[in-house]
């Protein structure tokens, strides 16, 4: 089955970074590695925009009254923070950067199945970004990232249509990336790379891609219905015209709950890679961890009702959704305990990527279990729409997905750029992010139970000390997130050249030089053993 072997031209040997320096060779490249870098730059820009909005929110909450922002400004700040962070950073972050870069390398392929489609999805992402920046420039929107009707369709005076267009467009970028991954994983695996030998990073991206393809269109339709109602008066959500506002919530959450699994599943894939590389040992329970990714994708589709326990949904539906929300937590529990078991009797190195992985596991456990608290109907009746919920989803999305994103950045940076960074600074950044994060969001659990509603710029004076703690934590977090930008960019110039396998990790991506050549593999690899085959027993000397 293997094709005739073509002699390697010199150009093939050259790293993908040096295969063309012109702007045109970057902006029109169909090389999955270059597109990954284009995504890395654009999502970092949007991470900065979202972080600015978060800084404004935390600054405003230092005092009980509206001193820094007006109420109007605060409403627009948290809406832009939500929309930009969810759709323009979190959802594309790990799949579009590391999925694009690593999936072909990990399964032994030359590129994704549809390289031109991959470039098209980046341009669609940029187009969506332009719409968001335009909305920001002309004054933002004040409906919250959830765009609930009838507020968004009749009473909002912000620019709902342009933000709906932005999210609609960026949704298609996700669908096309998901489609590309599914087809690549099915049709382009190297000989010998059976499903049982796939790296867990690829398994989790496969599950994510299925959700991306099946859930995102529902959000697209919900946005079309909002536009139809605002422009043509087609009152599908307007109670006076026979519509039902709950229908929008159902459509929105039918997408948005699977969307939180789109954000966390890739992070779980990254952590599986980091934990095995840290422990220099096979993953504990490969089959369970791989199957739990698929289980999360499956059950994730039938739990969306737990966002609407107090929204006027029938109590019996709420009981069913509450039970299913317990079931969806089981695969996550399996993953966490299997990671912990992997570290047992390992040969654990404490380099920066592995500190991020351990940070992820700790914060994700707290996030997941507080999610179970929220799934308890009676508890949700008290803490729904309070800062308790804000803390819960930040523990999973920021404590989990963003920490894993930084872990992946620190793990594969030598492979992507061919340069090593300063490990001491990496450890400092990991510790600072963990501390800053806990200081920012743990007080919000307490505040939420005290009855502090979310999206409020004003609060009773007795809550001020908790808000100030949280704002202090946010400033540490701000600095901690800026640190990697400094020493990683610094490593581009000053960093020592990275060997092919700096962490002595197992995986096809570590068998090619860093940075990898344009066509990934000189000779198509053949896979013989199982994944993470760390049989070699040598005890590594301490770095």
């Amino acid at each position: 089955m293997s094709p005739v072997h073509r002699p390697e031209t010199v150009e093939e040997q050259q790293s993908y970074l040096r295969a063309g320096h012109s702007l045109r060779s970057w902006l029109f490249s169909t090389d999955h590695k270059r597109i990954a870098l284009l995504y890395l730059i654009s999502i970092s820009a949007f991470f900065f925009v979202g972080a600015l909005a978060a800084a404004a929110i935390r600054l405003e909450l230092v005092t009980p009254q509206t001193d820094f922002l007006t109420r109007e400004g605060y409403n627009r700040a948290f809406t832009i923070h939500g929309i930009v962070m969810v759709w323009f950073f979190l959802i594309p972050s790990i799949p579009a950067v590391f999925g694009n870069f690593l999936i072909p390398l990990m399964i032994g392929a030359k590129d994704l199945a549809f390289p031109k489609l991959n470039l098209l999805s980046w341009y669609i992402y940029v187009l969506g970004g332009i719409f968001v920046l335009y909305t920001l420039a002309v004054g933002g929107v004040d409906t919250g990232w959830t765009l609930y009707t009838p507020l968004s369709t009749q009473f909002a005076n912000g620019h709902v249509l342009t933000i709906a267009a932005a999210i609609f467009i960026v949704g298609f970028s996700s669908i096309l990336t998901g489609l590309n991954f599914i087809v690549t994983i099915h049709t382009l695996r190297a000989p010998g790379m059976t499903w049982g030998r796939l790296p867990l990073f690829v398994w989790s991206h496969y599950a994510t891609s299925v959700i991306l393809v099946l859930a995102t269109p529902v959000l697209a339709l919900a946005l079309v219905l909002i536009a139809a109602e605002r422009l043509f008066g087609l009152g599908v959500f307007d109670p006076k015209l026979g519509g039902d506002p709950l229908l929008f919530q159902n459509l929105f959450w039918f997408y948005s709950h699977p969307a939180v699994y789109i954000m966390v599943l890739p992070a779980m894939g990254v952590v599986s890679e980091l934990v095995t590389a840290a422990a220099h040992k096979r993953i504990f329970g490969y089959v369970f961890v791989a199957a739990s990714s698929i289980a999360i994708a499956g059950v994730g589709f039938v739990v969306w009702g737990h966002h609407m326990f107090v929204a006027g949904q029938s109590p019996y539906a709420s009981v069913v959704f509450s039970f299913l929300s317990l079931v969806v937590a089981v695969p996550s529990a399996i993953k966490v305990y299997n990671w912990t078991a992997t570290l047992y009797k390992g040969d654990i190195s404490l380099d920066p990527p592995f500190l991020f992985a351990m940070g992820f596991i700790g914060l994700f456990v707290i996030g997941g279990l507080t999610g179970l608290m929220l799934a308890m109907l009676a508890v949700d009746a008290h803490v729904h729409d309070t800062t308790f919920v804000v803390a819960h989803f930040h523990y999973i999305m920021v404590g989990g997905a963003v920490t894993a994103f930084f872990g992946a950045l620190h793990f594969w940076w030598p492979k992507i750029t061919g340069r090593m960074y300063n490990l001491v600074w990496g450890r400092i950044a990991a510790a600072l992010i963990f501390l800053g994060f806990n200081l920012t969001f743990f007080p919000q659990f307490v505040l939420g139970y005290l009855g502090m509603p979310r999206r409020y710029p004003v609060y009773p004076p007795q809550f001020q000390w908790l808000h100030d703690l949280s704002s202090a934590g946010a400033s540490i977090l701000g600095v901690a997130y800026a640190l990697p930008l400094v020493y990683l960019v610094w490593s581009l110039r000053r960093g020592p050249p990275a060997p092919a396998n700096p962490w002595e990790a197992f995986g096809l991506e570590w068998t090619v030089p860093s940075p990898p050549p344009k066509h990934n593999f000189d000779t198509p690899p053949v896979v013989t053993g199982p994944a993470y085959d760390y049989r070699l027993k040598t005890v590594r000397k301490r770095r």
Partner: protein, 313 residues
């Protein structure tokens, strides 16, 4: 006021706190080992550290199934208890004091049955079940009483309800917890639980206009509903005396009980559920009257039910 725990004004709130504490215990039970083991392994099996790394097993069906099932079983008990309380919360006792709530962009209007009307603040008697029947005039709001640990979204075009029994007098907070636009954060007030005597005195002194049903009766006359619905009118229209609460057959064969929602919809959207045997000729009053006036009309129709108020008008 304990800085870590909210004040409690009802027995129900105590149950919730108990459930919360117990579940926090379970969270510690499930999360604790993860934190400790990771730290311990990182130290004991540190790279280059001499340690026993022999006969490592890398999968075991029983261990993995156990730590999937045990957390699930631990949490299912809490789910049943929490669901039990929540479903119990949905049905108010029959003798509950009914207060009608209308939420409007950025204020709450509470309407006591005897006619007292108050804005943003809510006075309730202690140790007596109180049922709030709520609707919104514009967007979705949510009535949140943190001291009682309950909240319920308030939807336009629909009645949602919430009931409670406060057992500790005091002044607590009324909050809107569903984002509803510009002044969402200032849309709230005081939730004042008073002893029976104080409540009666407050009722007497507070600004009283005719009882809700009384207002409904005046509105019924002003809008000329009698022109069609009175017994001696020439127009074929269903009689409203004793309609409230009765099973009403509809034109498309369904039979619905004439509850507050049906009565409200018949006024605001008559063509939706047309009574059997009558032409769908009633005009809509949606643009003539507001939600609080419909609430008054519905109260008046409910007061016409022969069972309770004898020979009404």
């Amino acid at each position: 006021m304990n800085p870590f725990w909210p004040e409690r004004a009802s027995v129900y709130a105590g149950h919730i706190d108990l459930l919360m504490w117990a579940f926090t215990g379970v969270v510690a039970l499930l999360a604790g080992p993860v934190f400790l083991l990771i730290l311990w392994f990182a130290i004991k099996y540190r790279r280059g550290q001499a340690a026993d790394r022999e006969h490592v097993i890398d999968q075991s069906m029983w261990i993995e199934v156990s730590w999937a099932v045990i957390p699930f079983v631990l949490t299912v008990g809490f789910f049943v208890y929490a669901a039990w309380i929540f479903v119990g919360l949905q049905r108010a006792p029959a003798d509950a004091l009914t207060i009608d709530v209308v939420a409007k962009q950025w204020m709450w209007k509470f309407q006591h049955p005897e006619g007292q009307r108050e804005i943003d603040d809510l006075h309730v008697p202690v140790d007596q079940p109180v049922k709030l029947v709520m609707t919104s005039q514009d967007v979705i709001h949510s009535l949140y009483l943190p001291a009682l640990r309950i909240k319920q979204d308030v939807l336009p075009g629909r009645y949602t309800s919430l009931w409670f029994k406060a057992d500790r007098p005091g002044t607590y907070r009324v909050i809107c917890s569903q984002f509803c636009g510009l002044d969402h954060s200032v849309m709230g007030g005081r939730f004042i639980v008073m002893r029976q005597a104080d409540y009666a005195r407050w009722l007497a002194t507070s600004q009283v206009d005719a009882s809700l049903a009384g207002q409904g009766k005046a509105l019924y006359a002003r809008l000329g509903c009698g022109g069609c619905h009175d017994a001696r009118s020439a127009v074929r229209a269903p009689s409203l005396v004793g309609l409230a609460g009765q099973a009403t057959p509809l034109q498309d064969g369904r039979v619905v009980t004439a509850d507050a929602q049906y009565l409200r919809d018949s006024v605001m959207a008559p063509n939706r559920d047309v009574a059997a045997g009558y032409p769908a000729a009633m005009p809509t009053y949606a643009n003539l009257i507001g939600e609080d006036q419909v609430t008054a009309l519905v109260a008046y129709l409910q007061s016409l039910a022969p069972a309770r108020s004898g020979a009404a008008s």
